[in-house]
Amino acid sequence: MAERATGRIGAGIGLALLLAPALLWITLLIVLPHVDLAILSFRERVGARQYAPSLAQYATFFREPLYWHVFLRTAVMSVLATALTLLVSFPIAWVIAKIARGRSGSFLFVACLVPFWVSETVRTLGWMILLRQSGVLPALLVRLGLTAAPPELLYHDATILLGLVYTSMLFMLIPLVSSLESLDDSLIEAAYDLGAGGGTILRTIVVPHAAPGITAGCIIVFMLTLGNYLTPTLLGGKNSQWFTEQIYTQFITRFNWEQGAAFGFLLLALSTALVILGLRATGQRFGEVMQRS
């Protein structure tokens, strides 16, 4: 009896030790800073080195149309980027999982992975070299006689979307490929035998089977996009504003940590709300999605 109890205590200690690094990580690096930021966001400067609790930071966000315009813009563009990433990645994932199996499948997969061996900054600068007015692509267009003067392809919203889709494609591919691989080919063959067309098969067999993968990919890509700082800042034009840029500005160039913290929480709320909404709309559950993909 006593032996068993010590055994259980031993197991408990073992479990605690195993969990300790993860728990320490979460508490020290995620929970504590967020608590600190939350406190910051609910105060207001009333004089030199004097602060009072207040809701002023959040009020500013709603009163100043500029800020929520940027906020909505970021949200809409992120949703758009996620949808585009899904559209582009799905055929690629299908090819990797179903058509080019074995060696050539893994070769294609590695080919998608290779760009990620260099840092995001370098990849984005690569796009800038290709797209800028004196860059490779505009020169090619002129050479081909399609335009008289080199067009400016950089600094448009479409350029931002291109960059975002490019940076996040891999994170959509991985869950998609793994969920498509588990789809039994005989189901599709049977459907064909029973006279179903391509569209029907996609709608009634492939998409429902891949749904957890699609949802997981969308969640990851959406969060990466919403929180991206580099791509919108470098590729975006003079009108482009991304909400993360606004947070950086508040913290670093305006010395207004209170406002920056409030913006940070608003962004967190936005991403949480949209993810929950997406899960509801597709009738999925977060835990299940993350487990199955």
Partner: protein
């Protein structure tokens, strides 16, 4: 295998000890690009045995980093003179400078006075001048004719100009519109009205902007590739481009260039003040100051650099700044609290406008 591990551990121990010993003779400077030339660092090490560790930054980042640590992490900082008093009042990230430890004879008295006046809080001085320069206009004279800030908005320059969305742009446009923003520093309501007016003008000017630059190389490359024909820019950047392409010139705006002075300031919790003072006295020696000028291209607050200075730079300076233009420079006064917040919102609106 074990031997190798033992050896590695020994090495780690040794470097650890070494690091601990060296900590007392290490000077950590947070500063702008090119402000601390590597060859001077080597000479300083030879002379004093002190290692210099440089972190590159800009005004805002410098202040934000010091604020985050309460003034720890660095032994010497180099913010602009107008950004010291308000920051000190608000965040307390600096400690006063002990003028008795500085060879004041090495500084130009006029610049020393300006900085003293603008960086004094409660009877204590927080800064010494290091380098100065001006913001004005850089123009590719073959493509564009620009003589004042507002000329950047001329219709023929559509999509061919660049600006930096920071406070100097607001000041430049205000002066270009015939107003004196510095005179309104003490009247928040009037200042707000002026900034709103400047913001509206900048929004109207936006079709002319190719991009708002955020770093030096982005702008220099814009000029080199011919994508940018005119920009609001600092003097030495213009002179640098001028050496590469004589068509590109630094133009002092008719309504006056904007003069900045970057300083030495001691972070409140710096660990090595002695080394900081030693560096200040070392780097302001005429011969050393001249080497800094060559590295960064801006002007030094040191006296007696004349005989060491590059004649080309001297000629460029003399061509850009006849006596009248030199007298018309607007020097930034210390910023009172609250103004930067107003300016920030105006800049945000400009950036977001379509």
């Amino acid at each position: 295998m074990r031997k190798i591990f033992g050896l590695a551990a020994l090495c780690l121990c040794l470097t650890g000890v070494d690091g601990a010993l060296a900590a007392s003779s290490k000077l950590r400077i947070i500063t702008w690009a090119d402000y601390v030339p590597p060859d001077l660092v080597a000479d300083f090490k030879k002379e004093t045995g002190i290692d210099v560790e440089v972190t590159l930054s800009n005004n805002e980042e410098m202040i934000s980093k010091l604020r985050a640590t309460g003034g720890a992490g660095y032994d010497l900082a180099q913010p602009s003179q107008d950004r010291i008093v308000s920051v000190q009042r608000e965040f307390g990230v600096y400690k006063p400078i002990d003028y008795s430890k500085v060879k004041l004879g090495q500084f130009q008295p006029a610049l020393l006075d300006v900085v003293k006046r603008n960086a004094t809080l409660d009877g204590q001085v927080y800064a010494l001048p290091y380098l100065w320069g001006t913001d004005g206009l850089v123009v590719n004279t073959r493509i564009a004719h620009v003589g004042d800030y507002l000329d950047l908005c001329r219709p023929e320059l559509r999509g061919k100009t660049s600006m930096r969305l920071r406070r100097p742009l607001l000041m430049g446009f205000a002066f270009g519109m015939g107003k004196d923003p510095f005179a309104l520093y003490g009247q928040p309501a009037a200042y707000q009205a002026l900034m709103d007016e400047v913001g509206a003008r900048l929004i109207a000017c936006k079709p002319n902007v190719k991009f708002y630059y955020d770093n030096k190389d982005q702008l220099l490359n814009g000029f080199r590739s011919g994508e940018v024909a005119a920009a609001m820019m600092w003097d030495t950047g213009g002179w640098k481009l001028n050496r590469e392409n004589p068509d590109i010139q630094y133009v002092v705006p008719r309504s006056g260039a904007l003069g900045w002075i970057d300083t030495f300031a001691l972070p409140a919790r710096g660990r090595n003040d002695a080394a900081a003072y030693a560096w200040i006295n070392f780097v302001m020696r005429p011969a050393n100051a001249a080497r800094v000028i060559r590295s960064v291209g801006s002007f030094s607050a040191a006296v007696g650099t004349g005989p060491f200075t590059d004649p080309k730079l001297k000629a460029q300076f003399a061509a850009s700044f006849p006596d009248a233009a030199l007298r018309a420079i607007h020097w930034y006064p210390a910023i009172p609290p609250g103004l930067e917040e107003m300016e920030g919102k105006v800049l945000d609106r400009v950036k977001a406008a379509n």
